[in-house]
């Protein structure tokens, strides 16, 4: 299950990038793109269900495991095809590719827990959608309350 970003909450502090890189030997799978000097967008592997990176990997280094796309570095040949195939540009590292591994061993990926503004969340699609739905409903409800 990928990590979701609520761009309305992101303050572009780069905390997620730093946390990821500190916990992954200096390589980060998160990229905070700041658009128009205004909107921070944390770009993190979508763990696509029909992943282009898996389709192009002739070495079988990228595999679908449940809801995750997993990279096995021992099988990787460093050909770079996955990096070209990713529609979001979220596999980095050139001949030593690296992507979000959702922090194995942790209940919640570190980027999610470290985000000061709470802009990142993880969980099943339905749970995340439900959360945003509840927020939107609250907003609508408030607009209907006479002050």
């Amino acid at each position: 299950m990928p990590v979701y970003v609520d761009v309305g909450r992101c303050v572009a502090c780069h905390g997620c990038e730093m946390a990821c890189s500190v916990s992954h030997q200096g390589r980060s799978g998160v990229f905070v793109q700041v658009v128009d000097d205004l909107v921070g967008v944390s770009m993190i592997c979508r763990h696509c269900q029909d992943a282009p990176c898996i389709r192009v990997c002739y070495a079988g280094a990228l595999q679908q495991e449940g809801t995750e796309v997993v990279l096995d570095e021992t099988l990787c040949t460093g050909c770079g095809l996955c990096q070209a195939a990713c529609p979001f540009g979220l596999i980095s590292g050139g001949t030593r590719p690296f992507k979000c591994d959702l922090c194995p061993g942790l209940q919640t990926p570190l980027c999610v827990t470290t985000c000061p503004s709470g802009a990142l969340s993880d969980g099943p699609f339905q749970a995340v959608a439900g959360h945003f739905r509840a927020l939107a409903a609250q907003k609508l409800a408030r607009s209907g309350v006479r002050r």
Binding site: H14, G15, G118
Partner: protein, 697 residues
């Protein structure tokens, strides 16, 4: 290995701050050494090396979150450029000394100059990065030598808060805990870019917003903080007092104020009212550039919400009228009765991890520990008896700004600077440099060879936060313990060890063995810390008179003033002396960026932060850039009457036309700022300087 607040932890281990397992690893609880939020994390230490940071999910301030600077704090600990030995300047370069030699040289020089020129020829700068215990000892050292000239970098950030809030409501700190912002229904942020500088605040502010609160951000720039706002008021730099006065006048005119609160708990409303006689919204609009309609909307939102809080930062304080700015904030909160309840309050966002503590400990020349006034005869009596000293100064000495003046005049002859880099952080760099050059003797104690240390006669290597014990007081008045995780590099020593041994070399009575023996004395001598004997896992708040009993929210029933009432203080708007003109057509404002910190002496040595931002940017509006034929990334020169500096252009719609922004984390920026200062608090004007920008050819 089980510790509270670790991801996946199953059982809480009370009172355990350091746990080791078989693999020679240990986890040491500590507090982030960067800003004043006071976030908690563990340092994982393996064979004497700090290896990893693990944010504490059970910490009430950060709940497991951490900003990039917090993560990068690991990189300063084992940095190759750390100072490792005492050094003396010689004709052939730096000479390595033993501690005994170094302390003797320092003591001899302080004694020689103190004896021949009098103690007023000495100046001490204490460090807001040091612990409470160390600040207490540094100011004690100065004062027991009879020297009143002891100050810290609080002068540069919130001196106007300390002076202004004390005058209006008797206390000079954040009134409500940071997390209490989540209970607000309206948050007015003025001159604070917390999203970059105190990112953890965004957590609480967004919780409030999610529950329906209105967020109003007044800032000349469209900062990441403004991105979160419901309403952004892009005022001209240096017009905060006019903005607040306009809002206060509108609230009075419309009768939106809290009459009951004003009547029961304040004095001076009529003086305030008459001082604002000519401050119509239309005038505020002309001065600030924010429309009267927007000002009225913000004023109504703040005044009429059931719980409104004001967050302010250096956009308010770092002006030649900084004290008036702070008093204007206080007027607004008092008038609307937005104090003393959950979700209300005034939150001056402090910069350094222990700047609140340094002020509490008397590392400001206006105050002895616990904000006791030197002019009060009881102060000198109490501390004289406690310290066994008969020569304590019964007066305010020189502020750090005045110390530079006195050095230039030749009346200040020696300085002992602990953990501060005035060359980078003080305004008008060439003047600061001249001032420090004209001293007979300069000693600098730091963890790196800073720009100021480069000028010193004697450099002493200090331990960083992870290498010592003690307490830090965060912006929300939370006093928390830190624990020693690793050993300092080479022969570097804790500031507490250095200052105590220096004092003993000088023959002074410093009977302290460790941080806890100093803290015990602090609890005895500083009334607001009296009950903080047991700090537990997450510290305690001051004022605390009995163990375990404190009010997280100040001013619930009365103000700590004589009579218990707060005062309205007319805040006079003074137009900036720095109006852009023909020669200098743009207005320079300085500030901070998320991946750097203050003078940059640490963050400019931190590779992972430099990877995100490694050069001085000059932010300017596309309109101004087009006229000057400047495009993104061009090398540009910025010039003011004080000097010139070069940086790389960042052309951005986030900054209004006519304004240029430069962060002060790089030494060049303060070549441009000048020596205007607030007459009451002596805080320098760092936010509005007329400048010109040219493309480098």
């Amino acid at each position: 290995m089980r510790l509270p607040g670790l991801p996946g932890a199953t059982a809480a281990v009370p009172e355990v701050m350091s746990v080791s397992d078989e693999s020679d690893r240990s986890m040491v609880a500590t507090i982030c050494p960067y800003c004043a939020c006071g976030c908690g994390f563990y340092l994982e230490v393996e064979r004497g090396q700090a290896r990893r940071i693990i944010p504490r999910s059970d910490h009430p301030v950060n709940q497991g979150a951490l900003c990039p600077k917090g993560w990068a704090s690991l990189e300063m600990i084992h940095h190759p450029e750390r100072l490792k030995w005492p050094l003396r300047r010689t004709a052939d370069g730096w000479e390595r000394l033993s501690w005994q030699q170094a302390l003797q040289i320092l003591a001899d020089n302080l004694r020689r100059i103190g004896d021949t020129r009098g103690p007023d020829a000495l100046g001490f700068l204490s460090s807001t990065k040091c612990t409470n215990e160390e600040n207490y000892l540094i100011q004690k050292l100065a004062r027991t030598m009879g020297c009143a000239n002891v100050d810290s970098c609080a002068r540069l950030c919130h001196a106007s808060t300390v002076v202004g809030l004390r005058r209006s409501m008797g206390s000079c700190s954040v009134t409500n805990p940071l997390s209490d912002l989540a209970n607000s229904r309206c948050i007015l942020v003025i001159g604070s870019n917390f999203a970059e500088n105190h990112p953890i605040l965004a957590r609480w502010v967004l919780q409030a917003k999610e529950a329906g609160a209105t967020l109003i951000v007044a800032d000349p720039r469209r900062t990441p903080t403004a991105w979160l706002a419901d309403q952004h008021l892009p005022l001209r730099p240096g017009t905060d007092v006019a903005l607040l006065n306009g809002m206060v006048r509108h609230i009075l005119d419309q009768g939106l104020h809290d009459r009951d609160f004003v009547q029961r708990r304040t004095t001076g409303l009529e003086q305030l009212r008459s001082s604002l006689a000519d401050f119509s919204l239309a005038r505020a609009e002309r001065i600030t550039g924010v429309s009267a309609g927007e000002l009225a909307r913000a004023a109504r939102a703040y005044a009429s919400s059931p719980a409104s809080a004001v967050v302010y930062g250096m956009g308010v304080t770092q002006h030649a009228s900084g004290t008036a700015g702070v008093e204007a904030v206080a007027n607004l909160a008092l008038l609307c009765g937005q104090l003393g309840r959950p979700g209300t309050g005034i939150l001056p966002m402090r910069g350094q991890n222990n700047v609140q503590g340094a002020c509490d400990m008397g590392a400001m020349t206006e105050f002895y520990p616990g904000y006791r006034l030197p002019e009060d005869p009881r102060t000198v009596q109490v501390f004289g008896a406690a310290w066994g000293s008969t020569c304590l100064p019964a007066r305010k000495g020189l502020t750090s700004m005045e110390m530079m003046d006195a050095a230039l005049f030749g009346t200040l002859k020696a300085m002992y600077i602990v953990g501060e880099d005035p060359i980078c952080s003080h305004p008008d760099q060439s003047r600061t440099r001249q001032a420090l050059q004209s001293l007979d003797f300069l000693a600098v104690q730091d963890i790196f060879m800073t720009e100021t240390a480069e000028m010193a006669d004697l450099v002493l290597p200090a331990a960083c936060w992870a290498e010592k014990e003690g307490t830090f007081t965060s912006a929300e008045r939370r006093v928390q313990r830190i624990y020693r995780a690793t050993d300092p590099p080479g022969e570097a020593r804790e500031d507490l060890w250095i200052v105590s041994n220096l004092a003993r070399t000088l023959g002074l009575n410093f009977p302290y063995t460790d941080a806890s023996s100093v803290f015990q004395e602090i609890c005895r001598r500083v009334t607001i810390y009296k009950g903080l004997v047991d700090l537990g896992d997450f510290g305690g708040f001051w004022p605390c008179l009995e163990p375990g009993k404190w009010n997280e929210i100040l001013h619930q029933d009365c103000f700590p003033t004589e009579g218990g009432l707060a005062r309205f203080l007319p805040a006079t708007y003074c137009p900036s002396t720095q109006e852009p003109g023909a020669d200098y057509p743009l207005l320079l404002t300085t500030g901070r960026k998320v991946c750097h910190f203050n003078s940059g002496s640490i963050t400019r040595r931190t590779p992972s932060l430099l990877a995100i931002s490694d050069h001085l940017v000059v932010e300017m509006n596309p309109e101004d850039a087009a006229v000057l034929e400047i495009v993104e990334g061009d090398r540009v020169w910025v010039k003011t009457v004080q000097g010139s500096a070069s940086g790389y252009a960042h052309v951005s719609g986030s900054i209004p036309a006519g304004v240029v922004f430069m962060p002060f984390h790089f030494p060049a920026t303060n070549r441009l700022t000048g020596d205007a200062r607030d007459p009451i608090s002596h805080i320098p004007e760092l936010k509005a300087w007329a400048c010109q920008v040219k493309k480098e050819v």
